[in-house]
C-alpha cells in the first residue's frame, strides 16, 4: 500500500486501466504489470485497489470481462474496453492534456 503513490488522483487509476486495455484485452495481473512497466515502476498497485477499480469500471459499462485461458494455459478473467469505454478514454485523455497544460502554465508563470 505504501508503494501506491498516495496522491494518485481519484479517477486517474481508472483512466490508466482504460489506457492499458486500449491495445488489447488483458487479465488483472497483466494490467498491473503493464502499468508498472509503462510507469517505469512508479505505480505499483495492490490487488485491492485494482479490483475495486475493475468492479467500478464494469458497473459503469466501460469494460467487460470474459474467462479465457492464458498463454500458460491458466484460466483467467480477461478485461476488454467497450465502445463506451473507448469513448471515455478519448475524452478523459483530452481533458487530462488540457489540465496538465493549464497546470504547467500556472507553474511556469509563478
Amino acid at each position: 500500500m505504501a508503494d501506491q503513490p498516495s496522491d494518485l488522483v481519484q479517477g486517474t487509476l481508472d483512466m490508466l486501466i482504460l489506457k492499458t486495455l486500449a491495445l488489447e484485452p488483458m487479465h488483472g495481473y497483466g494490467i498491473a504489470v503493464r502499468l508498472e512497466q509503462m510507469s517505469k515502476g512508479v505505480f505499483r498497485l495492490n490487488a485491492g485497489s485494482l479490483f475495486v477499480a475493475f468492479q467500478r469500471l464494469q458497473r459503469d459499462g466501460l469494460i467487460r470481462n470474459e474467462w479465457k485461458a492464458t498463454e500458460n494455459s491458466r484460466r483467467a478473467k480477461y478485461y476488454a474496453l467497450t465502445a463506451q469505454g473507448r469513448k471515455r478514454l478519448n475524452s478523459e485523455t483530452r481533458e487530462w492534456g488540457r489540465q496538465v497544460a493549464a497546470i504547467a502554465r500556472i507553474l511556469e508563470t509563478s
Partner: protein, 887 residues
C-alpha cells in the same frame, strides 16, 4: 444505463453472493499465483514468493473484503444484518417490544384515522371533472357584512353575460316534485338546473342524454333527468323509462336520462339538514324567464367553471367590476352588493377545515407523547445494555456503527407500530364514521388509500427517528471501561435528566390537550343548558308539500285545516300546530320590511326579520309562551284585517322601550302602495338557527291569511311521538291518496342532529385528551418504577442505616411531585398559548377559563401522583437484606 447496470450488478452480488464470491476468489487467486510464478521464475522458493506477493499485493482474504465492501450492496447487506439482529433483540424482549409497539400503534393509528378524514374531506378533489376549476359565486352584502348563497335570476343573467373569465356559469335551485300516477305517491327532492349545469361539472347521463341548450327556457322545460338511486328504487332501473312521461306536481315531464350512481349535486344537499337523504333525486330544467322585477328575489345557487388558465383572482377582479356597474344601474336592489368567488371545495367543506386541522394537530401532540414514552423505554433499556455496547465497542465496533444498529432497532419498532397502527386505524375510521354527524360533508368517502398509507409510512419513520435518536446517541457515547469492570450500572446523570425532561413534556402536552378537551366539554354542557325557547319532547314533525297545480292557495288552506282536524282527533294527540320554517331545520326565509311611519330609502337600510307562517295552535303546541297581546285565532283568516305576531328580539330591536302591539308594518318597500299588517302579539324568542346562534328578529304570519303549499305539522302527544307516524300518514292519505308525506321525524331527533357536530368535536377532543393522559400516566409510572429498581441498592442501604419508611416514600414521591409540577406549569403555559386556536370551537366559555385550567391541572396532578405511589410503595417495602444480597 450505467445506473441500471450498477443496480443489476449489485443485486447479483447480493443474491448470488456465493457464486460472485467464488468468482472473485478464483480471479484473485490466479492474480496472486501469476505474481508468485514470476517471482519463482526469478529464483525464489514458492513459500518465499507467496509471502513476498502477500506483502506487495495484499492478502487474498483482505482484498476480497475490500472489493466486496466497495459496492453499494455492502451497505444494504449491513442494513439487512442490523435488521435481523434488531429483530432478534426485540424478540428476546417480548414485554418491552409489546409495550413499545402498542404505544406507537395507538399514536400512529389515531393519527392515521384523523388524517384519513382530512384526506377525504379536505384533500381529495370533488368528484367532478377538473374540479379545481369549479367555483361558487356568492353575493356579499357589504353593509350588513353577510353572505347570500342565493342570487337573483337577473343578477345571475348579467354576470353570465358580462364576465369573461368563465368557461361556463350555471345556476340551480332546489325543488320538490310530488310524483303521482304510480303505485304509491311520493315526494322527490331534487334540483332545477340551467341547461349547462351538468356540462359545467363535466357530467354525462349513463342512460339517455343531457339537456339541450334551449331546454331550460319556460315552456320547453318539461323534461327530467333522474338520479341513479331514484331510477333504481322507484322505477326498478327500467331501461324503457327513457322517453316515458312522469306525472310530477300534476304535470307531465319526459324522462330523458339517468345520471351515474356516483354522481351527486350539489356536493352536499343543504335543502334542510333535517332531510334523511343527502342526494338530489332528479335534475329538471330551470325554466326561468328573464324578468327585471325579480332582481331582489334571491333564489339561485350559482357555480362556474374557470376558463383554462384563468385564475380565481382574475375572476374576482372581473366580477368586482361587473358588480359595481350593476350597483350603479340598480341602486335599490344592488347597493353594497359584491360578488365572492370561492372554490367549490371550500364552499362544501366550510367551517370543517379549521376543525379538522386542529384535530390533526391535537392528535399529533398525542403521538409526540407516545414517542416520549417509547424514548423513555429505550433509555431504560439502554442502561441495561451498557455492558453489551461496551463489549462491542472494545471489540472494534465504531460508534457510528452502534448508532446505526440502534437506530435500526428503533425504526423496526416504528414500522411495527405503524403496521399495527394501520390495523387500529381501520377500527378508528369505523368508529369515526359511525359516530360522526350525518351532515359532515364527504364523511362517507373516508378510507385508507395510497395517500393515507404514504402519510402513515412517513409518520412512522419520523417517529422512529424522533424517539430513537436520543437513546442511540446516548448509548454510543457511553464510557467503555466502566460497565466491563462488572460495576453496577447506574444511570448516568445525563440520561436521568433526559428522562425527566421527557416525562415533564409528556405531562405538559397531555395537560394542554386535556384543557382543550375540558374547555370543549364545558362549552357543550353550557350549550345543552341553553333554553331553546320551545319544548322539543314528545313532538312529531310531519313534512308535506302540496302540488300547486292541484291546490290553489285557498284550497291549500282548506286541505291543511281538514288534515289538522283529523290528526287532532287521533288517540294520544294533545295539540296540532304547523309552521313553514321549522326551528333547527336549517330552513329560514325573510327579508326587509317597513314600519308604519318610519319609511326607508332602500332595502339595504330597512329593518329585516325572519318570516314564518304559523297556524293557530303553533305556539301552544311548541310551548312558546305569549308575552304580550294575543296569539292567532280562527278569526285571523281571509277577509279579516291582516294580523301578525313578532318575537321578543324584533320587539326589542325595532320598538325599543315601547309596546309594538297595535303598530303596523308592511313587506312592500320602495314606492309601491303598502299593505299594512297589524301586530297583535309578542312571543318569546326561539333559537331558530340552533343553540349557538342568537335569536333573530322574527315575524309570524297567520296561516289562514297566507296559506302555503309547504308546511311542517307539529303534533304534540302524551306518548312516544314516533308511535303516531302511521296514524298521521293515514289521516293525510284519507284526505287525498295522491298526497305523499315527505317525511316524519321526532323533534328531539332534529334537535339531536343540530348539536351532533359539536357533540362529535367534543367527544373527539375528549378521546384525544384521555389517550394522552393514559400515555403520560404510563410514562410517569414507568420512570418512577425504573428509578426505584435502579436505586434498590441505595434504598436498601438507607433502610439498613435506619431511614424511616415514610422517608423513602417521600424520596420517590418527592421527585414525582417535582416532575409533575413542572409538567403542569409548562402545560398551563402551553394551553394558554394553544387554546387561541380552538376559540372558534368554544361556546360561552372563555379560552382561558380559570376553572377549567385549575380543575384539569388538579386531576392530572392527582392521577400522576397515584401512578407514582405504586413504585414508591414498593421502594418503601424494600428488604435491606435482599437488596444488598442482590449485589
Amino acid at each position: 444505463m450505467s445506473v441500471l447496470r450498477n443496480i443489476s450488478s449489485g443485486l447479483r452480488s447480493l443474491f448470488r453472493k456465493k457464486r460472485v464470491g467464488r468468482e472473485l476468489e478464483e480471479e484473485l487467486n490466479s492474480f496472486l499465483e501469476m505474481a508468485a510464478e514470476e517471482k519463482m521464475n526469478a529464483g525464489m522458493s514458492r513459500k518465499d514468493a507467496l509471502r513476498a506477493v502477500r506483502l506487495e499485493r495484499g492478502d487474498l482474504q483482505v482484498t476480497k473484503e475490500v472489493v466486496r465492501s466497495a459496492g453499494w450492496e455492502s451497505f444494504v447487506e449491513t442494513c439487512w444484518q442490523d435488521l435481523r439482529f434488531a429483530a432478534r433483540m426485540l424478540r428476546k424482549n417480548p414485554g418491552f417490544t409489546a409495550v413499545a409497539v402498542l404505544t406507537l400503534a395507538l399514536g400512529i393509528g389515531a393519527n392515521t384515522s384523523i388524517f384519513s378524514v382530512v384526506n377525504a374531506v379536505l384533500l381529495r378533489p370533488l368528484p367532478y371533472k377538473d374540479s379545481d376549476q369549479l367555483v361558487q359565486l356568492i353575493e356579499h352584502d357589504q353593509k350588513r357584512g353577510v353572505d347570500f348563497d342565493w342570487v337573483s335570476f337577473p343578477n345571475f343573467h348579467d354576470w353570465n353575460e358580462q364576465a369573461k373569465a368563465f368557461q361556463f356559469m350555471a345556476a340551480y335551485k332546489f325543488h320538490a316534485f310530488n310524483l303521482t300516477k304510480v303505485s304509491q305517491a311520493q315526494m322527490l327532492f331534487g334540483v332545477k338546473v340551467s341547461a349547462n349545469l351538468l356540462p359545467t361539472l363535466g357530467a354525462e347521463p349513463i342512460v339517455g342524454r343531457n339537456f339541450r341548450p334551449d331546454e331550460d327556457q319556460p315552456g320547453r322545460d318539461h323534461e327530467i333527468i333522474l338520479s341513479y338511486d331514484t331510477w333504481r328504487e322507484s322505477f326498478g332501473a327500467d331501461p324503457q323509462l327513457i322517453g316515458k312521461a312522469l306525472t310530477l306536481n300534476d304535470e307531465l315531464y319526459t324522462v330523458i336520462g339517468v345520471m351515474p350512481a356516483s354522481f351527486n349535486f350539489p356536493p352536499t344537499v343543504p335543502i334542510t339538514s333535517a332531510l334523511p337523504s343527502r342526494k338530489a333525486a332528479f335534475f329538471a330544467p330551470l325554466g326561468l324567464a328573464f324578468n327585471l322585477d325579480q332582481r331582489d328575489w334571491n333564489m339561485l345557487g350559482v357555480i362556474a367553471r374557470l376558463k383554462p388558465g384563468a385564475t380565481i383572482s382574475q375572476a374576482r377582479a372581473e366580477l368586482d367590476a361587473v358588480a359595481s356597474s350593476l350597483e350603479l344601474q340598480y341602486p335599490v336592489q344592488n347597493r353594497g352588493i359584491t360578488v365572492r368567488v370561492e372554490p367549490l371545495l371550500n364552499q362544501v367543506v366550510g367551517d370543517l377545515r379549521l376543525a379538522l386541522w386542529i384535530f390533526l394537530a391535537a392528535i399529533s401532540l398525542v403521538l409526540l407523547v407516545a414517542c416520549a414514552n417509547v424514548t423513555n423505554l429505550l433509555l431504560a433499556r439502554s442502561t441495561i445494555r451498557q455492558r453489551e455496547m461496551a463489549l462491542r465497542t472494545s471489540l472494534g465496533a465504531s460508534r457510528s456503527r452502534l448508532v446505526r444498529q440502534l437506530l435500526t432497532e428503533s425504526l423496526l419498532l416504528a414500522v411495527g407500530g405503524g403496521a399495527f397502527g394501520i390495523l387500529l386505524a381501520y377500527g378508528g375510521i369505523f368508529l369515526l364514521t359511525a359516530f360522526s354527524p350525518d351532515n359532515l360533508p364527504r364523511i362517507g368517502d373516508v378510507a385508507i388509500d395510497g395517500r393515507v398509507l404514504a402519510y402513515t409510512s412517513v409518520v412512522s419513520i419520523l417517529t422512529g427517528i424522533i424517539f430513537g435518536l436520543a437513546p442511540s446517541l446516548g448509548v454510543a457515547l457511553v464510557d467503555v471501561s466502566q460497565p466491563l469492570k462488572g460495576q453496577r450500572s447506574t444511570p448516568t446523570a445525563k440520561h436521568s435528566r433526559l428522562r425527566s425532561t421527557l416525562v415533564v413534556s409528556e405531562v405538559a402536552l397531555s395537560l394542554a390537550l386535556l384543557i382543550g378537551a375540558g374547555l370543549m366539554l364545558k362549552s357543550f354542557v353550557r350549550m345543552e343548558r341553553v333554553d331553546l325557547g320551545f319544548r322539543a319532547e314528545k313532538v312529531l314533525t310531519v313534512w308535506t308539500i302540496l302540488s300547486e297545480a292541484k291546490y290553489a292557495p285557498q284550497q291549500q288552506a282548506a286541505f291543511y285545516e281538514q288534515a289538522w282536524q283529523r290528526i287532532q282527533t287521533l288517540p294520544g294527540v294533545k295539540s296540532v300546530g304547523a309552521i313553514d320554517n321549522l326551528p333547527l331545520s336549517g330552513i329560514h326565509g325573510g327579508g326587509p320590511f317597513t314600519i308604519d311611519g318610519h319609511p326607508t330609502e332602500s332595502d339595504v337600510d330597512a329593518p329585516v326579520a325572519y318570516r314564518c307562517v304559523a297556524n293557530v295552535n303553533y305556539f301552544r303546541t311548541m310551548g312558546i309562551p305569549l308575552l304580550q297581546g294575543r296569539e292567532f285565532t280562527e278569526r285571523d283568516r281571509d277577509g279579516t284585517p291582516p294580523a301578525l305576531v313578532i318575537n321578543e328580539t324584533a320587539a326589542r330591536r325595532y320598538w325599543p322601550g315601547q309596546s309594538p302591539v297595535g303598530s303596523r308594518l308592511s313587506f312592500t318597500t320602495g314606492r309601491t302602495r303598502a299593505t299594512w299588517l297589524e301586530i297583535v302579539g309578542v312571543v318569546k324568542d326561539v333559537l331558530h338557527d340552533g343553540l349557538e346562534s342568537p335569536a333573530k328578529p322574527t315575524i309570524y304570519l297567520p296561516f289562514l291569511q297566507s296559506p302555503q303549499a309547504f308546511m311542517v305539522t307539529v303534533v304534540r302527544s302524551d306518548m312516544e311521538p314516533t308511535g303516531l307516524t302511521s296514524a298521521v300518514r293515514g289521516a293525510i292519505a284519507a284526505l287525498d291518496r295522491d298526497q305523499p308525506v315527505l317525511m316524519t321525524r321526532a323533534m328531539t331527533d332534529i334537535y339531536s342532529d343540530s348539536v351532533a357536530q359539536r357533540r362529535f368535536n367534543t367527544a373527539l377532543m375528549a378521546a384525544f385528551g384521555t389517550l394522552a393522559l393514559l400515555l403520560a400516566v404510563v410514562g410517569v409510572y414507568g420512570l418512577m418504577a425504573f428509578a426505584v429498581t435502579q436505586r434498590t441498592h441505595e434504598m436498601g442501604v438507607r433502610i439498613a442505616l435506619g431511614a424511616e419508611h415514610w422517608h423513602v416514600l417521600k424520596l420517590v414521591l418527592g421527585r414525582a411531585l417535582r416532575l409533575t409540577f413542572m409538567g403542569i406549569a409548562f402545560g398551563l403555559a402551553m394551553a394558554f398559548f394553544l387554546t387561541r386556536f380552538i376559540s372558534n370551537l368554544l361556546f360561552n366559555v372563555p379560552r382561558t377559563d380559570p376553572a377549567t385550567f385549575i380543575v384539569v391541572s388538579l386531576c392530572l396532578g392527582g392521577i400522576a401522583l397515584l401512578a407514582s405511589y405504586i413504585p414508591a410503595r414498593r421502594a418503601m417495602r424494600i428488604d435491606p437484606v435482599v437488596a444488598l444480597r442482590h449485589e
